[in-house]
């Protein structure tokens, strides 16, 4: 195992899959000669050339649609969104074409497409550039969506996504690119889509999170243990759709309490879905109502100190957990 960054892990996944399968290519704005706006594809153009790393003009509907068409022909395009916020320009292609072609054709057509790139707020770039659309993507049957929170998951999920025969959205987190972690060297290391991961074991409370919120949850769990002797179990969803319901249920049955943390907006959010799951499957096991933490329900704020309040941070998670356990703060 090597210790590498989240960014490097994704790059390794891309490079390995490009080498493994000649159908794999990467397309997007500034992915080739510029080496990627966030340097995720740095060096890949020099290594693999114009055919496998393709710089596209600013025409998201065009090149996402192209990705879908070429995937119908059996290629395996990996389309980079410079920011996930720009996927909306191609929303019609993604939801009217990518999500439904297999269904509408009675299973005759597959769309082995990956759409990947940085999502989430926290970088003070205002409302148009800070979207976290995993709940929207997950709303469309036919689409899959994953949100890795560690370098190992980033690599494993990316490889699984590229090998998957359905359209998969891989939402990376801009603020995680520099994070380091251990990543298996095995070229066939994958993290299966639809498998959650217990990132920390505990008995008093379950926190369900994904993406950057997992790190916030782990930070909170550490402090709760050290200062309050509360042992939190942290379930990292990794896949938003398909969702690993059994891992969530097992954990909540064990701890009797569920706190759902997400950077999405709350309305019609992922927390609502999971909250429903828990009341349906774990009602008799609950010692407290399910609690939810999300981003504050407004478009992303520009001003740095205010945006920080908008997103779930560890102190908020700690406060909420203590309240759920009736511990005096």
């Amino acid at each position: 195992m090597a210790v590498i960054t989240y960014r490097q892990a994704i790059k390794d996944a891309l490079a390995e899959e490009i080498m493994r399968d000649e159908n794999v290519f990467v397309m997007g704005e500034e992915v080739a000669q510029y080496n990627g706006a966030y340097k995720v594809t740095e060096g890949l153009w020099a290594r693999f050339g114009d055919k496998r790393l393709v710089d596209a003009p600013i025409s998201e509907a065009g090149f996402i649609g192209l990705g879908i068409g070429s995937a119908m022909m059996g290629l395996r395009p990996v389309i980079e969104m410079m920011f996930f916020s720009f996927v909306y320009v191609a929303w019609d292609q993604a939801v009217n074409n990518a999500s439904s072609l297999r269904y509408m054709s009675g299973g005759k057509i597959n769309v082995p497409l990956v759409i990947r790139g940085p999502a989430n707020g926290g970088t003070n770039v205002g409302a148009t550039h800070s979207h976290t659309p995993e709940n929207l993507v997950a709303n469309f049957p036919g689409l899959k969506v994953v949100c890795p929170a560690t370098p190992a998951d980033a690599k494993g999920l990316m490889k699984a996504a590229i090998r998957d025969n359905d359209p998969v959205f891989v939402m990376e987190s801009t603020v995680l690119y520099g994070m380091e972690g251990e990543v298996p060297d095995d070229e066939d290391f994958i993290v299966p889509l639809g498998k959650a991961d217990v990132k920390r074991e505990g008995k008093d409370l379950t926190i369900v999170a994904h993406g950057r919120s997992v790190l916030m949850a782990l930070e909170a769990a550490k402090e709760l243990s050290e200062k309050h002797k509360i042992e939190v179990e942290v379930v990292d969803l990794r896949s938003i759709r398909p969702l690993d319901e059994e891992t969530i249920i097992k954990s909540v049955k064990k701890t009797g309490r569920a706190l759902l943390v997400e950077e999405n907006k709350p309305y019609c959010g992922i927390g609502a879905q999971i909250s429903h799951l828990i009341q349906r499957r774990c009602f008799d096991y609950l010692d407290a109502p399910v609690h939810r933490i999300s981003a504050v329900d407004a478009p992303a704020f520009y001003s740095p100190p205010v945006e920080k309040v908008q997103l779930p941070e560890a102190p908020i998670i700690i406060r909420e957990a203590l309240d759920m356990l009736n511990v005096k703060r």
């Binding site: 704005e29 500034e30 000669q33 510029y34 080496n35 706006a37 710089d55 003009p57 600013i58 025409s59 998201e60 509907a61 065009g62 916020s85 720009f86 909306y88 320009v89 970088t123 003070n124 770039v125 205002g126 409302a127 148009t128 550039h129 709350p266 309305y267 609690h291 939810r292 933490i293 999300s294 981003a295 504050v296 329900d297 407004a298 478009p299 704020f301 520009y302 001003s303 740095p304 100190p305 205010v306 309040v309 908008q310 908020i316 406060r319 909420e320 703060r329």
Partner: protein, 377 residues
């Protein structure tokens, strides 16, 4: 100097003044000419101050500088009349100052302060001043082009004699939204003028790598839509005013759209975070533009030749603009950040009548807000 290069030099000099005689420029008083010059200098000084503040870590997010392109904003916006409207992309500081937004409100917005033009909610890419008929900076490439169409549509709908100046970059012409806008603009005869500020690059991608058939001129896309187009030297304020005036008159009087491509250049990277910009452009290319086509120097040269400006006056204008920019940094620095409660204002339309409020989405932290007393305690 060979005769040939002498001729070329004479030709170039002539070109510099070629548009001074355009009626719209001839009407300018010395005072107005100096104001145009001053406004360009103000944009530059504002942005230099912003750059310095950014480098000191005083602001977050993006900073897309307009330096090198000043003549476009000033040249075009100086032509607007009471029914003319303006909308642009994220490289919006120049247009904002040109419509008369103050340096203070603009700088404070960059700093994320409550006194900023968007109360600290928008940042560099999202300046707005609808009361000045300035419908803002927009962050999604090409996203403003149908909006500009809609603004002009509203003018026509109301029977007003005006037009909308809609700015976009050379990269934005490849967005579907732009092409849909062109078709509708021509089909329905909408008084919108698309101004392509062609600074030759979209981020690190040159036109040759992003637009098919760049030799034809990007504005020639208009032909497929039966729309008029023209190309303009973006370093020459008089030329910009002369040609854009023609387009605006046509839009106002005949309600016809047009595409104008203004050849210009940005001195800095795509944004301040663009560490690559020395790789995709050569030093010579940048210096050539700075030395020979800088819009402020070019106009300065013209005004000196016309006897409108002299050394002293130039220095005065320079230092006044610098002072003003510096004061705006002080203003921004001494302004408060927005209170956290501002997160929830302006999400929906509200009125003084609580029964009519549509601010309904208040659901987070289990209906608690991060700043609630009970929660903070």
């Amino acid at each position: 100097m060979s005769t040939e290069t002498k001729d070329q030099a004479a030709q170039a000099k002539q070109d510099l003044f070629a548009h001074a005689k355009a009626p719209i420029n001839q009407k300018l008083t010395a005072e107005q000419k100096i104001k145009l010059y001053t406004d360009m200098v103000r944009i530059r000084k504002f942005e230099q101050a912003a750059l310095q503040s950014y480098q000191k870590g005083k602001m977050g997010g993006f900073l897309h500088l307009y330096i090198g392109q000043e003549a476009t904003a000033i040249g075009t916006i100086s032509l607007t009349e009471e029914n003319d409207h303006i909308i642009t992309a994220y490289r919006d500081h120049g247009h904002a100052l040109a419509v008369g937004m103050t340096m203070n409100e603009c700088m404070a917005e960059l700093f994320g302060k409550f006194t900023g033009c968007s109360k600290g909610k928008g940042g560099s890419m999202h300046y707005f001043a609808p009361e000045k008929r300035y419908w803002g900076g927009h962050g999604i490439v090409g996203g403003q082009t149908p909006l500009g169409l809609g603004i002009a549509y509203a003018l026509k709908y109301r029977g007003l004699k005006g037009c909308c100046l809609c700015y976009l970059g050379d990269g934005a012409i490849n967005q579907g939204a732009f092409h849909e806008s062109l078709n509708l603009a021509s089909l329905w005869s909408i008084p919108v003028i698309y101004i392509i500020e062609n600074n030759r690059y979209s981020m690190g991608t040159s036109q040759a790598r992003s637009s098919a058939y760049p030799e034809a001129g990007l504005a020639s896309r208009a032909e497929g839509y039966n729309m008029e187009w023209d190309r303009i030297d973006g370093s020459n304020l008089y030329e910009i005013r002369a040609k854009v005036h023609v387009a605006m008159e046509r839009a106002r009087n005949e309600s016809r759209p047009m595409i104008l491509e203004i050849d210009t250049y940005r001195y800095y990277g795509h944004s301040i975070a663009d560490a690559n910009h020395k790789k995709y452009r050569t030093k010579e290319e940048i210096e050539d533009y700075q030395n020979n086509k800088d819009p402020i120097s070019v106009y300065q040269q013209i005004l000196v030749a016309e006897g409108v400006l002299d050394e002293d006056k130039i220095k005065d204008i320079d230092s006044a603009a610098k002072e003003e920019a510096k004061a705006s940094v002080d203003f921004a620095e001494n302004s408060p950040y927005p209170p956290a409660q501002e997160l929830l204002t302006d999400v929906y339309w509200t009125t003084d009548n609580p029964g009519q409020h549509s601010n309904q989405g208040r659901m987070f932290f289990n209906d608690r807000l991060p700043w609630d007393d009970e929660y903070q305690a």
